[in-house]
């Protein structure tokens, strides 16, 4: 119980710092890839600090509490994961959290944020199957949905789940709003439909969506890590290494690809889910029935 609480508290405190730093590193590496010097790695923190010092312009009353609820539920999701809870439950909560942002954005009925929110929903539809499939894959590999049991196996789950790992990294690009899948809202170097889902958010509220995104990224990368972690210490080192490699890969993809049309995104994401995830699952099922 105590370790659980320590984990939760550690996540809630450290995640924004790690997430923010990763974001800063992302911007630095991106700049270098484009032959620029780039901002300081602490730039995301400067941005957020500045945003909190700006006035908050609102279009309606609902925006503020919806955005705050979005952050709240993202934090709840991460806390659930670090308390070792059921992975499916974590993912369902994540969907609920994402919906709050969508509602905040479409409550303004501005065309830009409305397109942004519709695209966000489309992206949710594109990645949701793979996300659930990831949880199912973990169940096949370790016999449990509980995060605490998944990381306590003797063997890393990735041994059983190479296809699902590939699929998850693929949809990670959508979740992290990286090009070519940054349809609903893009990061600084890119622009799409103004700022998509965050168009009408100003000052502190925008800062809160940034922080929520940091929490979410740490949550997602933790899932990536879970593919590796088992009882041995080496696996934790390996997990950190894999997370770093995956994150670098995302940055590389972001900088080397052009934005896709929404229908391509949907079809591609579903195809990858079926091919990488589905085949992996079938193989696991066959193996299971043989043993």
């Amino acid at each position: 119980m105590t370790t659980k609480i320590i984990f939760i508290v550690a996540y809630l405190i450290l995640a924004p710092f790690i997430g923010g730093l990763l974001d800063g590193i992302d911007r630095k590496i991106s700049a270098r890839m484009q032959g620029r010097k780039g901002p300081s790695v602490f730039q995301p923190f400067f941005d957020v600090a500045k945003l909190f010092n700006k006035e908050v312009l609102l279009v309606n009353k609902a925006q503020a509490f919806l955005v705050l609820s979005y952050l709240g539920f993202i934090m709840f999701t991460g806390a659930l994961l670090y308390s070792g809870a059921d992975l499916l439950l974590c993912f369902f909560t994540l969907t609920t959290a994402a919906l709050f942002l969508v509602l905040a954005s479409c409550s303004t009925s501005s065309p830009f944020s409305s397109i942004g929110s519709q695209r966000e929903l489309l992206q949710m539809m594109a990645y949701e199957p793979m996300v659930i499939l990831t949880a199912i894959g973990f169940y096949y590999a370790t016999g449990s949905f509980k995060a605490s049991n998944i990381v306590a196996g003797n063997m890393s789950a990735i041994v059983y789940l190479p296809g699902i790992f590939v699929g998850f990294v693929f949809i990670l690009t959508i979740k992290m709003r990286k090009s070519p899948f940054d349809l609903s809202a893009s990061h600084h170097p890119h622009q799409e439909i103004v700022k998509g889902i965050t168009t009408e958010l100003s000052g502190g509220l925008l800062a809160i969506t940034d922080i929520a995104e940091w929490y979410e990224n740490v949550f997602l990368l933790s899932i990536v890590g879970m593919f590796l972690i088992n009882t041995s210490v080496v696996s934790i080192v390996a997990a950190v290494a894999v997370v770093i490699v995956v994150y670098f890969l995302e940055i590389l993809i972001d900088n080397t690809s052009a934005r896709m049309r929404w229908d391509k995104v949907l079809k591609l994401a579903w195809s990858v889910t079926i091919i990488a995830g589905g085949i992996n699952l079938v193989v696991l099922q066959v193996l299971k029935s043989l043993i």
């Binding site: 700049a31 941005d47 500045k50 312009l57």
Partner: protein, 144 residues
């Protein structure tokens, strides 16, 4: 005192410019000048912006647009007029549809002359704007 000057976000609006200045503004974000190293980001959204960069003069059609975009920027905010046209109306000043420089509709803080304004002078203007942005933020802070 909050340190806001490390993260000035720009909003670039093209009034009735000949596009000369616009190209120079965009040139600032290229690797050669790389304004992002100062934390400058070229955003397209007034709700996110701190510094309003306008090129070209104001005509009767975009007058309201500029006013509205200005009103959608949260305080503290700084307005920079880039290029001679934005400063005074420039060579278009006597046109039937031109009202004049940007300061005919909204208060301008920094004037960057030039036809077209060079990237160096634009960056210089932005650096001045950043200092003013910090000043305004501090003033807002102390008012609280």
């Amino acid at each position: 005192m909050a340190n806001v000057k490390r993260s000035p976000w720009l909003l670039h609006y093209d009034g009735s410019s000949c596009n000369g200045c616009d190209i120079e503004v965009l040139a600032c974000t290229t690797p050669v000048y790389d304004v992002e190293r100062f934390g400058v980001v070229n955003t397209g959204d007034p709700f996110h912006a701190d510094i309003f960069l306008i090129t070209g003069g104001i005509n009767s059609q975009n007058k309201e647009v500029v006013e509205q975009i200005y009103s959608q920027m949260p305080s503290p905010k700084v307005v920079v007029a880039v290029g001679t046209c934005a400063c005074t109306g420039g060579v278009f000043k006597e046109c039937y549809n031109i009202l004049g420089g940007v300061d005919t509709v909204i208060p301008v803080d920094i004037y960057v002359p030039g036809c077209a304004a060079r990237p160096e002078s634009i960056i210089d203007g932005v650096v001045k704007a950043v200092a003013l942005f910090q000043e305004k933020a501090d003033a807002m802070d102390s008012k609280k």
